[in-house]
């Protein structure tokens, strides 16, 4: 039997780092600035396509023409006002939709009876084109701001509901068991287990809800709007002003992309407890 008690550690600081190199199967680290890759690439393709004539201006205006149209809209047609009007609408609608959707999802997620009442109608609602429901909404809420906000709320409610419901139902049953033995009431269960557990799902829903609320503008601003990006696009479509349409689309693209990235960024923050392939 040999017992070697440990001797003092090596004194020369050797900071060689030679690790076991194992093929990484996950996606690895986030690339810095990768946020800019996609848009830059899209812009590059668009510019090159337009410059070489592969993309005809009749089909898609060149970026530089869009810049000119943008300036024109900004200076002469109150583009800022349009943007603000639209953002306001979609923000109010989104907030309404997100709150209602999340509440409905929790009710229907935690009670089979609630589910049987809530789930079917929502599934049916989402199978039916929004455009086709608008007449109903006009009848109920008029053609004013109310109808627009409610329509957007209903559009963004759907992804929030479905994702939160799905996320909630995907919570590992063992945490519910734990909560049962801890002796908490339904409210605490929702706050401490259901909401955090469904949060990844909810956030994914948010990504869809945000874009839906923006896209919904195109539909609702058909109706009795005098400002808004959707209105601008609608008008431009009727006149066939491709460059103005593209201005609208670019604004949509920018807002959508930024909002989406913001939700994903928030997600990475608030989901710090997860150890997943996202890393």
């Amino acid at each position: 039997m040999t017992a070697t008690l440990h001797t003092a550690p090596v004194t020369v600081p050797d900071t060689t780092d030679q690790r076991v190199v194992r093929r990484r199967l996950g996606p690895g680290h986030r690339i810095r600035f990768s946020f800019w890759f996609g848009p830059t690439l899209a812009l590059a393709i668009w510019s090159i396509g337009s410059a070489t004539g592969l993309i005809k201006p009749a089909i898609l205006s060149a970026p530089w023409d869009v810049v000119v149209a943008f300036q024109d809209q900004w200076v002469n047609h109150d583009l800022l006002g349009n943007i603000v009007a639209s953002l306001q609408r979609s923000l109010v609608g989104l907030t309404l939709g997100v709150v209602t959707g999340a509440v409905l999802a929790v009710i229907s997620g935690l009670s089979r009876f609630g589910e049987s009442l809530i789930d079917g109608p929502i599934q049916i609602k989402r199978s039916v084109p929004t455009l086709a429901i608008i007449p109903l909404f006009i009848a109920w809420f008029g053609i004013g701001e109310e109808m627009k906000v409610i329509t957007i709320a209903l559009i963004s409610l759907v992804p929030i509901y479905i994702h939160t419901h799905n996320g909630l139902r995907g919570i590992d049953g063992k945490y519910a068991e734990l909560a049962e033995t801890i002796g908490i009431n339904h409210g605490e269960f929702v706050r401490h287990v259901v909401l955090p557990g469904a949060l990844p799902g909810f956030l994914l829903g948010m990504r869809f809800a945000v874009t839906s609320s923006l896209l919904g503008l195109v539909v609702v601003e058909h109706y009795n709007a005098v400002a808004g990006i959707g209105y601008m696009i609608t008008l431009a479509e009727q006149y066939g002003q491709t460059d103005v349409i593209v201005v609208g689309l670019v604004i949509y693209g920018i807002f959508g992309y930024c909002a989406d990235s913001a939700v994903r960024f928030t997600g990475r923050r608030v989901l710090a407890w997860r150890q997943t392939l996202e890393g």
Partner: protein, 328 residues
């Protein structure tokens, strides 16, 4: 296939080279040709048609821009907007309604409980308005004729999609809105107390407009010449065979029931082929001028939008059935 280029001033060739294809969005004529047997004459003339179920301004302009369509049947507004947005087109066919004021395309629907008996009563009313659509131009023209300006009424921006105008009226979101004459009965039946008035202006412009590049293609120009002649005869055939027309188009293609189909044909009235395009061009110019002031577009000389070489093709094909004078 690099077809020979044909100057816009050159005479239209008669001979249609075999295999010449026209891409046309003209569903009504398509149905009539089938019902009347005129489609056979068309193919005998050497014209191959590639039918697209496209009609109306936005869709046809989109298809033109993508160069997926040669011609499309529309009213007058689309060719103006095509010009304003840089797509060069030519009108190759003009038709009118024989009694345009008795058979208007649009009427003004009036919301239940609102008192509008004539265009003069429009003052102060909320009117549905859609800047880029034919309905919008119509509203402007009605106001102009009633001696009112945009300031005298309240224009409510509202796109006419589906039955959005009917709904807006029925729910009293607007007081007045232009509604297709064929839908007026339905509207009045649906909403008790709803009424309608005639606009008192002509809205019967009916054209076939084509990509200028198609007209400049010698082969296609020849085919178009044949098509325009046969299209003329098709319209006249429909005048003489309203029931067959109703069946072929409104029943079979547009899926209406027999009674509704007949009613629509009746409401739309008979088509006429003008002996001269002068009046039509004059009305088009007026519309262009009105829109360019009210909607701030460039001034436009509409004679650049029509190809009058087809005027005679049409008149010849109609023979003594042409309409002249005020009717045209």
């Amino acid at each position: 296939e690099a077809a020979t280029r044909l100057e816009l001033s050159a005479a239209l060739p008669d001979k249609v080279p075999t295999g010449t294809t026209l891409r046309i969005g003209d569903p009504q004529i398509q149905a009539i040709l089938g019902a009347s047997g005129l489609d056979k004459e068309l193919s005998d003339a050497g014209v191959t048609t590639e039918w697209a179920n496209i009609s109306g301004g936005p869709q046809s302009i989109q298809a033109f821009r993508a160069d997926k369509l040669d011609c499309s049947s529309v009213a007058d507004i689309p060719s103006l907007f095509a010009a304003w947005t840089g797509t060069s087109t030519k009108i190759v066919f003009q038709a009118v309604t024989q009694d345009p004021l008795d058979h208007p395309i649009y009427k003004l629907g009036v919301a239940p409980g609102v008192n509008v008996a004539s265009p003069a009563d429009l003052r102060g009313k909320r009117i549905a308005y859609s800047a880029g659509q034919a309905q919008g131009a119509l509203v402007l023209r009605v106001l102009q004729k009633a001696g009112l300006s945009q300031k005298d009424v309240q224009l409510i921006e509202l796109t006419s999609t589906g039955d959005s105008y009917v709904t807006a009226l029925g729910t009293k979101a607007v007081d007045v809105a232009p509604i297709g004459a064929q839908n007026i009965k339905l509207y009045e039946a649906k909403y008790p107390g709803a009424t309608s008035i005639n606009t008192g202006i002509r809205d019967d412009a009916s054209t076939l407009y084509c990509l200028t590049t198609a007209v400049e293609d010698a082969d296609k120009a020849a085919a178009l010449k044949a098509y325009v002649a046969i299209r003329t005869r098709a319209l006249l055939w429909a005048n003489d065979h309203p029931d067959e027309f109703a069946k072929a188009y409104y029943q079979d293609s547009q899926k209406l029931n027999e009674a509704d189909a007949k009613a629509v044909v009746e409401i739309n009235g008979d088509k006429g082929i003008p002996a001269s395009w002068d009046n039509a061009i004059k009305r088009l110019q007026e519309t262009a001028d009105l829109l360019s002031t009210e909607q701030k577009h460039d001034k436009l000389d509409v004679t650049t939008l029509v190809d009058r070489r087809f005027e005679k093709v049409q008149a010849d094909a109609a023979g003594d059935k042409v309409v002249t004078g005020d009717a045209s």
